[in-house]
Amino acid sequence: MAEERPDGAFRGYDPRGWFCEMFGHDGEGLAHTRPVRERLDRLGLEALRQRARDAEIELYDQGITFTVYSDRNAIDRILPFDVIPRVIGPSDWDLIERGVIQRVRALNLFLADVYGPQRTLAEGVVPAELVLSNANFRPAMRGMLPPAGTWIHVDGTDLVRGADGRFRVLEDNARTPSGVSYVVENRHLIQRSFSDVMRDLPIRPVSDYGRRLHEALCEVAPPGVLDPKVVLLSPGVFNSAYFEHVFLAREMGVPLVEGRDLLVEDDRVWMRTVAGPVAVDVVYRRIDDDFLDPTCFRPDSLLGVPGIVEAWRRGRVTLANAVGTGVCDDKAVYAYLPRLIRFLLAEEPILDNVETWICREPQALAHTLDHLSEMVVKPVGASGGYGICIGPRASRAELEACRAALLADPANYIAQPMVALSVSPTLTEAGLEPRHVDLRPYAVTGKSTWVLPGGLTRVALQKGSLVVNSSQGGGSKDTWVLAEEVA
């Protein structure tokens, strides 16, 4: 280790062989993280702890929280926040940005094809039944041509970094990806409490996300609308992401509405105001397809707006994201994304998928069965997450059960090697310790795509855990993208 200050914050830090976001492969320290490392080291652990405590109080007071409702009480929980930033150098970011933009282009073209001529299905790039029998495929959307050909206005791409330090795509989130509010609020928090560490570093700003999103949404307003009225449609205060809805509505300067605030008449969407109905042109909806319109999807939904999907189909209102995008961020379709990029864009993928074996293909099935104890086997069905078998951690009986399931219905599974997620130094009771992280950049698409230079770094706070989800003890970190190399 380069730093040897006896009272330094990094004293004794050991990435234990994982790829470290601060120190790289060999613990020598990545060049672009040097100023940050040195400054944090000089601050020492006590100062870091004090600032972390202050930051936590601030999050709680500001209500940057997700709320857990019980019978009578609303309990506000903060998403645990780790004050040690994750730093991304300009060349890595360039790759991520180009890769994400390419992926969003491919996904939008794929959706236009699936709900249009279906060439990708006819030519066997993706097995037709995988799409047509997918629960998230909405046959009623066939023939839709959303403005600018954009179906996915906001996309979140989950990236992981393996032992070789390369970024790979683990998952696409093309429905209603959440978490971007934490990116901006984490930055505000860090700016207040770590201005000394940030001084003179070329950190790219994240604060104009709201303005960018608003502009993109205006770009895709129905044709002929000059001054589009945008609203954000939320399920309401009981939704766990309500803070984010508030944040985005505020940052965009648009009304935050609930289903009961909107009505559809003459194929137009109207908002109920004190002066009567006011026309709405673009709806950034944070409600899933299923709950969006009781006349179209779940009839028991009280959150949605009756008739809104028909108004969208007739081009009188823009829905962002469009209806039916769920068919492209499915685990099964994910496996075909590299092939889709080649077919639809005639380009090589800039960001690779995590190596994925599509078990419906005999060779892939054979490989998976041969290496079962080393692989993660995932069912591709609608209920994602359910029935995952993690080979290296499974018992013999579990492996045998997985083998039987694979043989019975191979088409229902994909398999991936266990990814050795990179680590990032994280403040724990024992000092700075390596904890596994992933990265979710956000792409905003109107007529073109813009990637927020930052993204949500999620961190698995439990020692040894690879699960970064907030529901399972995950937290977040500020992500610093550097505009240029630092000396």
């Binding site: 209500g63 205060v237 508030v246 009304p255 935050l256 109920r272 105001t273 004190v274 002066a275």
Partner: protein, 325 residues
């Protein structure tokens, strides 16, 4: 042309009302503790219950109204919809729905204030700490008012805020006065106009932060008719019914003229009818003839009617008669 969401207008109206309610309750509890004692120096905690029309509900619980039981009932009891916790919680939940509209500063202060009250336990709500506790609560409400005055964008949403605060304040003042009138036969010691009676009126004025103001208007004496006329009709006292009804009229006028909301005209008519009844001469006559309690009832009913009319005119409530649909 305004595009304020009807739901937001209603939330901001109630946000103001609930904070106003918290403040009033804190004042009443503090004054009760500090000034309101009977001839033997005992607190009559039953009076607080009477002011809030909670006597029946409280007694149904089978607990006698002691300092401790009444204080807990009004400060921390989450099952009591009229407790400070309940009102503040409702204020904060309205603020949560309004977070994109109100200033960040307003939200943070209410959130922190709410969390502080939510953290109070039974040990914090004891007689010897009431004064400090009430001072803290009043300060929280005053801070809210100050932050709102300083940061809340003054468009039509601010009109609805003012409407809520003024209607609630007017309502609370009539209740305060009423409690004294109802309390007189059994509360005093059978000597209207005597020392104990004057002490009661003094305490009542203090709970409306009106003692000094009253003294500016009436340097000497403490006559029931004067106090009632002051609380109902004084045009300069910020908590008088007349002053608040004046604010209601102003704000409705602003909504009608400045924001083109013609529905405000019907509400304005009602408000003008209320204003007519608030003349000093009429109030004194009512006190002299014992009609004050009925008048207060009438005022409270008028304010309820006005709130319903606002609901139908601005908040998207169904027209009357269609409520069951």
């Amino acid at each position: 042309m305004t595009a304020l969401l009807a739901r937001w207008a209603e939330c901001v109206f109630w946000l103001a009302r609930y904070v106003e309610r918290v403040e009033n309750l804190a004042r009443i509890l503090e004054v009760q503790e500090t000034f309101a004692r009977d001839s033997r120096g005992r607190h009559d905690w039953g009076m607080v219950l009477a002011i809030n029309a909670d006597t029946g509900r409280f007694l149904a619980r089978g607990t006698p109204p002691t300092a401790e039981s009444v204080l807990r009932f009004y400060v921390i009891d989450r099952d009591n919809p009229t407790s400070i916790w309940s009102a503040l919680h409702a204020a904060r939940e309205n603020a949560r729905a309004l977070r994109p509209l109100i200033s960040t500063e307003m939200w943070i202060q209410l959130n922190v204030f709410h969390n502080r009250i939510a953290a109070l336990g039974p040990a914090d709500v004891v007689e010897e700490r009431v004064a400090r506790l009430c001072a803290m609560i009043k300060e929280g409400c005053d801070t809210h008012a100050g932050i709102t005055a300083g940061t809340f964008y003054r468009d039509e949403a601010a009109c609805f805020y003012q409407l809520g605060a003024a209607i609630e304040c007017a309502d609370q003042t009539t209740r305060l006065l009423d409690a004294k009138l109802l309390g007189m036969p059994q509360g005093g010691d059978g000597d209207p106009g005597g020392a104990a009676d004057a002490a009661y009126w003094t305490a009542l004025l203090r709970s409306a932060a009106g003692y000094q103001a009253f003294r500016r208007r009436h340097p000497r004496g403490m006559v029931a008719e004067q106090v009632a006329a002051f609380l109902i009709s004084d045009p300069c006292f910020p908590r008088s019914v007349a002053c608040n009804i004046g604010i209601v009229a102003e704000q409705l006028e602003r909504l009608r003229r400045h924001y083109g909301l013609r529905q405000a005209a019907a509400a304005l008519e009602r408000v003008e009818a209320i204003e007519d009844t608030l003349e000093v001469r009429k109030v004194r006559a009512l006190m002299a003839t014992g009609g004050m309690h009925r008048f207060n009832d009438h005022l409270q009913a008028s304010l309820i009617d006005l709130t319903r009319l606002l609901g139908r005119s601005f908040f998207g409530h169904p027209p009357s008669g269609a409520d069951a649909a």
